[in-house]
């Protein structure tokens, strides 16, 4: 059964005010198209989860969509600060923003516990750090099989996870290559999953290379075909990270006025990603197009 729909319909149906939302992707495969649609639909009071909130949550915070972040690294990678998030945290502009903070490992462990249906997950980080002091959800339990204690974190269960992928079939069986981040853990931890794909392929393409499948249609609610939907982040083999855009965001986001102008021009003023792609223009896409580096082929064997 096809679950193909548009980004507008998928967000309208599956993201509600007050929801806990995870748009994951570690540098790679960050679904900006979904974040922009959430801004356009003026969703409010969202709890946003990501290891690295990145530009996408900076934009959503500036647009007034979020009441809280659950995260582990709050920066513009390789550039500096997330100014909109900082304004909210340091000065309550446009509104105060609650923070629930972990290390990367702590966030990953929360997603694993959520995905696996466990009540908590043990890990050896946090010792000697002040983080457990400011986040009461980071706790210690005695080792039931020996001496000593271990830190634990509770499961994270987003209401919806939005997972960008290279390709999926129309039911939602999805394949990724390159950095995998926590796409799998976030998807299995969530109540609902929106898969956003650069390409929709025939089921036979998926079945020809099953080791590359990371998310099964079983847990997918909606499939959106959205080419270039991860810009200015990247999709391995499709387009490079737009480092110039990440650097430019630093200046755009320093003042609320310039940031709002940017949102007006690039989010509110556009109907969706297709217009964004066109507005950005062919030169940018040409600049971001990588050369080819094909994988070798493996023989799965025919058994009949």
């Amino acid at each position: 059964m096809s679950k193909l729909t548009t980004m507008r319909e998928a967000i309208a149906a599956l993201v509600h005010d007050g929801d806990c939302v995870a748009i994951e992707g570690f540098t790679h495969l960050i679904c900006f198209a979904a974040g922009h649609e959430i801004i356009r639909q003026r969703k409010r009071d969202l709890v946003l989860c990501r290891l690295t909130p990145d530009l996408i949550y900076d934009q959503m915070v500036a647009a007034g969509c979020a009441r809280k972040l659950i995260f582990s690294y709050l920066g513009n990678p390789g550039v500096g600060s997330l100014h909109a998030v900082r304004r909210a945290v340091e000065r309550g502009i446009p509104a105060p923003l609650e923070l629930e903070e972990y290390t990367h490992f702590g966030m990953v462990a929360r997603y694993i516990a959520g995905a696996a249906g466990l009540p908590f997950y043990p890990l050896h980080t946090f010792a000697g750090s002040d983080l457990p002091r400011v986040n009461p959800l980071i706790r210690r339990v005695e080792n039931p099989y020996g001496s000593g204690a271990v830190y634990v974190v509770p499961p994270l269960h987003p209401d919806v996870a939005i997972i960008h992928v290279q390709r999926a079939d129309q039911e939602g069986n999805a394949q990724i290559w390159g950095l995998l981040g926590v796409q799998v853990e976030a998807a299995f931890a969530a109540q609902h999953v929106i898969v956003v794909a650069e390409e929709i392929v025939d089921e036979a393409v998926i079945r020809a290379d099953p080791n590359r499948t990371v998310i099964p249609a079983l847990i997918v609610d909606a499939v959106v075909h959205e080419p270039f939907g991860a810009h200015p982040s990247y999709v391995q083999g499709y387009y490079d990270r737009d480092t110039e855009a990440y650097i430019a965001w630093d200046a755009i986001s320093r003042e609320p006025e310039t940031l709002q102008q940017w949102l007006d021009e690039w989010v509110y003023g556009l109907s969706g990603r297709a217009e964004y792609v066109e507005k950005l223009g062919g030169q940018v896409w040409q600049r971001l197009k990588p050369g080819d580096a094909w994988s070798g082929r493996v023989n799965y064997g025919r058994y009949c």
Partner: protein, 254 residues
């Protein structure tokens, strides 16, 4: 070619410290450049591991972030972050971790979380990312940061990543973790840590730098090695690779 900047000296000094390392956990920024220089000079067998999920990277260009696509193409392995953090880092397979910091104290504890109070921060910094687990779980840690009284402080506003905590055996008492900070590489010289007290001391200076100038940038009364060393200036080959391959835009020359 004998003309070089403090940043270049710092990168070269950091790269040389990786001569005997097999696996290094690479951080964003200066460590990224230092590890890539080491792989091209003193440590050709060095495996670069990035928290984004890459083991054995051979980047064709200098990666602009730890999630750069050039880290994937040609790498030995790419895996979910959960696997990397659990089976490589927590399992204890990584020799060296590289960290920077907004604040560091005399025991090598690091703050990258807030300046001021946590609930009402003067400056909200990025937070841990993977730094806390890297500081705990790599066999040893190299810290790379520029000298400044704002960075080298008496007391951290927040401990993000533990070094030797209050010194002495405080870190050892945490249990099954790595050895902690081995050195602090700055823009004027290199600090190491006393084996008993675990306090950092100035171990060697770069050419042209003095103890007095270092002390001016450190908030506590500095301990200095009995036999203070001098670090050899960057060799021509080190500078060539740095400038032509790793920093063609000249950001380290500014």
């Amino acid at each position: 070619m004998n003309d070089y900047t403090a940043s270049e000296m710092m990168i070269v000094a950091a790269a040389r410290m990786l001569a005997d390392a097999r696996v290094v956990f690479v951080g964003i920024g200066l460590p990224n450049i230092a590890c890539n220089l080491a792989q091209r000079t003193v440590a050709p067998r060095l495996e670069l591991i990035y928290e984004s999920g890459v083991y054995g990277a051979r980047p064709a260009r200098l990666p602009l972030s730890i999630g750069d696509p050039c880290l994937v193409s040609g790498a030995v392995g790419v895996m979910p972050i959960s696997q990397l953090l659990q089976y490589y880092l927590q399992r204890g397979l990584i020799d060296v971790g590289f960290l920077g910091a907004a604040q560091i104290d005399r025991y090598g504890n690091l703050n990258t979380t807030v300046i001021g109070d946590y609930q009402q921060p003067k400056v909200r910094l990025p937070g841990s990312g993977g730094a806390c687990e890297i500081a705990l779980m790599c066999r040893r840690v190299l810290i790379i940061t520029r000298l400044s009284r704002r960075t080298f402080v008496e007391k951290l506003d927040f401990v993000t990543s533990p070094g030797f905590l209050e010194g002495g055996d405080a870190r050892a008492r945490l249990g099954r973790y790595g050895e902690g900070p081995a050195a602090v590489i700055t823009d004027m010289g290199i600090f190491r840590f006393d084996r008993i007290t675990r306090e950092m001391f100035l171990a060697s200076l770069y050419p042209g730098c003095t103890v007095e100038r270092v002390q001016e940038q450190v908030s506590w009364p500095l301990r200095v090695a009995d036999r203070l060393g001098t670090v050899a200036p960057p060799a021509e080959e080190e500078l060539r690779i740095l400038r032509q391959e790793l920093d063609p835009a000249g950001r380290l020359r500014m």
